[in-house]
Symmetry: C2
Subunit: 449 residues, 2 copies
């Protein structure tokens, strides 16, 4: 890893050329580099935490002057209980994952002595743009090395001292490994993001990890493919046959277990015929957890007639915009729909293609919902918060993608891979194949992997 | 299929909403629509060929005035021997392909009663921008319907009469099928391309089929992902241990079997130590086929000393720019390199990541080349012209992609698919899982597909 003071262009050029070496390293060489990084970071704990303390102190001052949010300050803190250990453990976890490079996914015999193979390979150079959390640098460096991709990292300026300290240690560790030092570069100079986003000849994929604003800015300002999501506007459709107790539990978990997460619930659609039977107990449970309900006219009237005057007084009226809003807080938009078709249509128009769920006891309706809703995750009787790489068993997560191509939903190492086609022949030419007289035809026999 | 005079925005909005219906249709409904299209086109042969004749006549006049190239005029002609029959056969070929929708590619037991499934599904709305060839419309409509994607087609204005005639027939055929008419839309109004490229809220993928200029224009002018390639700058590295006769055959096939194709050879790199032993016979064979060799200093000197004065006089001197040029004609840039490393470095800098080959009898060198060269296709002792969906056994081809994400190389139906994650639970919530006391842990058992 080099802490580059070079221009963004030079950094990207070096990363590209390092990526060509990294892509050919065997599994062991990439794993050994992770072992070396882990050991070097363990040893440098005190220095890094001291650098982090300086970042923290500056941030604390900025927060007191109202220039930074307190939540950002707390995300900066590498000394917080368990954070340092988690960061180190993450490196070893990534090392233990199956090697995603060089997997054969297709083999076809084209003709005698002529074989086609499709083999997974790294994408090339990743640009990862993230905000405050300094532990992300170790996490991303591990994922990049494991997957054989070079990476350019650009972190938030609040963590500069921590980043520099970590990157010096990683750099020294890589020096002793076969991974080229330039394969992982940290860019700290200010205002380089627009220049980096312009380098589509060197950079193959941008992964933004940060606020919706950051992601939206990046998507609008680059020709390089972007993996991620700007919005997580997740909806649940509560169908009349759902078990009311189960419904309340899933909705409460989806909304309240971590309201700031992208996989949290933002819109609840309730079938007209379930308004009296199901909605009041759901609303009760939500309000008890501190959720503010923004209800459309129909749902507000029903709730007002069923809830105690004290609870009723807490209901708010929804405006149209509430059904297009990712609140990321304890606010929930609530709306009545006539049936499943209306629910599906609402979600396909207002949702963000992240994760949506149906609560129902009918498997037919569940299957209909899951095939009709256009989203990365479509769940039946389960919390939207299962949309997470760790929970889904992907080992680790690069992010959650709402893209319609390449990688969708929680993205693990697989999302950092592409493939190439290899053909091994014995001097085969194409001109001899065809339909006419004396022409050969292809064999196209699928071979075992 | 509707021949829309609506605004591009309205067309895209309708296509999006049709895509949600199309995505849920069973295999039989999509196949039946293809059968109906095939029958209707067969029946309307005379009308369509008459419309095509009018396009052809106008194009012929334009060609005579020097406003159109003769090769474009010939690509317009649907009446040319075999073309109509091929177009119709293509529809049935696509119908017979395995259904790419709804394939389960991952199943994981997350916990008792909680299962994750990854299922292939259509991408959504495709925008296909193509130039003259009128048969593409039937081809693309078939691929879109088979893969469950809606498509907006924008063809070159030279084929307007043919397009309108074909699209009316397809439209009438779809009326009798379950595929919504708006799923396939033909946009004929002029100058709509910039507006279409701006509709990233409705259109999920752009597939340009046409000249490098068209592709480059599209890539620079849209936020929507683009599948395809602008350049096909294919190289061959001729290593010293290659069989000279085999080398000449493969190089001649790569360069001359269809020089205008993107998978044709443009740069020949010859190992220094093979210049005397291999290059003269290769050059002989190429010149016999009418190829003009643009040689660097070293290769030109060797050839001048080995070839007859008559052949020598045909050699040209290469300039630097020739090694970055996709000639698409019978011109080949030739350069000496010291060894395989220099060849790989040259290709990784000057190539277009399309298809590159090594000719060698050493499997070690071949494997090194194939893992180190960063291209969609890396071939050993085989012509670059095998880079083709039909030849590779993909059934049909949407195009050849040099993208580093999603789909690379010859793209078949698979490239028009993405996946969604379905979770089927029984009221599962996330808050109960974790590391602390009394928390549950995940099962994460991989289940058979």
């Amino acid at each position: 890893m080099s802490l580059t003071s070079a221009s963004p262009k030079a950094a990207a050029e070096e990363a590209k050329s390092a990526s060509h070496i990294l892509a050919t390293l065997p599994t062991a060489a990439r794993n050994d580099a992770l072992t070396a990084i882990h050991a070097a970071l363990s040893e440098a704990r005190d220095d890094i935490l001291a650098a982090n303390a300086r970042d923290l102190e500056a941030a604390q001052r900025a927060a007191e002057n109202g220039q930074l949010s307190q939540s950002l300050v707390s995300r900066l803190d590498l000394g917080r209980k368990g954070k340092w250990e988690d960061m180190l453990k993450g490196i070893l976890d990534v090392r233990e994952l199956e090697d995603p490079v060089g997997k054969i996914t297709l083999r076809t015999k084209l003709d005698d002595g002529l074989e086609l193979t499709r083999v997974t390979c790294p994408i090339g150079v990743l640009l990862i743009i993230f905000e405050a959390r300094p532990e992300v640098i170790a996490n991303i460096a591990s994922l990049a090395i494991k997957s054989g991709n070079a990476a350019i990292l650009k972190g938030g300026k609040e963590s500069t001292e921590s980043f520099v300290a970590i990157s010096k240690v990683i750099s020294a560790a890589l020096e002793k490994s076969q991974v080229p030092n330039n394969a992982i570069q940290l860019v700290t100079t200010r205002d380089v993001i627009p220049q980096l986003l312009d380098l589509d000849q060197y950079i193959d994929l941008v992964i933004p990890r940060g606020s919706n604003e950051l992601v939206r800015y990046i998507k609008t300002n680059t020709k390089i493919p972007v993996l991620g999501h700007a919005d997580g506007l997740c909806s649940i459709f509560l169908e009349q046959s759902a078990d009311p107790k189960m419904a309340a539990e899933v909705i409460v978990d989806s909304k309240t277990s971590y309201p700031a997460a992208c996989n949290s619930l933002e819109t609840l659609l309730v079938q007209q015929s379930a308004l009296e039977s199901h909605l009041p107990s759901v609303a009760d449970a939500l309000i008890a957890k501190g959720v503010v309900l923004r209800c459309d006219k129909v749902t507000k009237e029903i709730l007002a007639s069923k809830l105690s005057p004290e609870l009723s007084s807490k209901l708010e009226s929804a405006m149209d915009a509430d059904f297009d809003t990712e609140f990321l807080s304890l606010i929930l938009a609530v709306k009545a729909v006539a049936n499943i078709d209306e629910a599906i249509a609402h979600i396909n128009i207002h949702g963000s293609k992240h994760t949506d769920a149906i609560l129902t006891s009918s498997s037919d309706l569940a299957e209909k919902f899951m095939s009709s809703v256009d989203a990365a995750g479509v769940y039946w009787n389960a919390s939207t918060r299962f949309a997470d790489g760790m929970r889904c068993g992907f080992g680790t997560e690069v992010g959650i993608s709402t893209n319609k191509i390449h990688s969708r939903g929680p993205v693990g190492l697989e999302g950092l891979m592409i493939y190439k086609y290899k053909i091994r022949g014995q001097g085969h030419v194409t001109a001899v194949y065809g339909e006419g007289e004396g022409k050969k035809s292809f064999n196209h026999e699928r071979l075992p992997l």
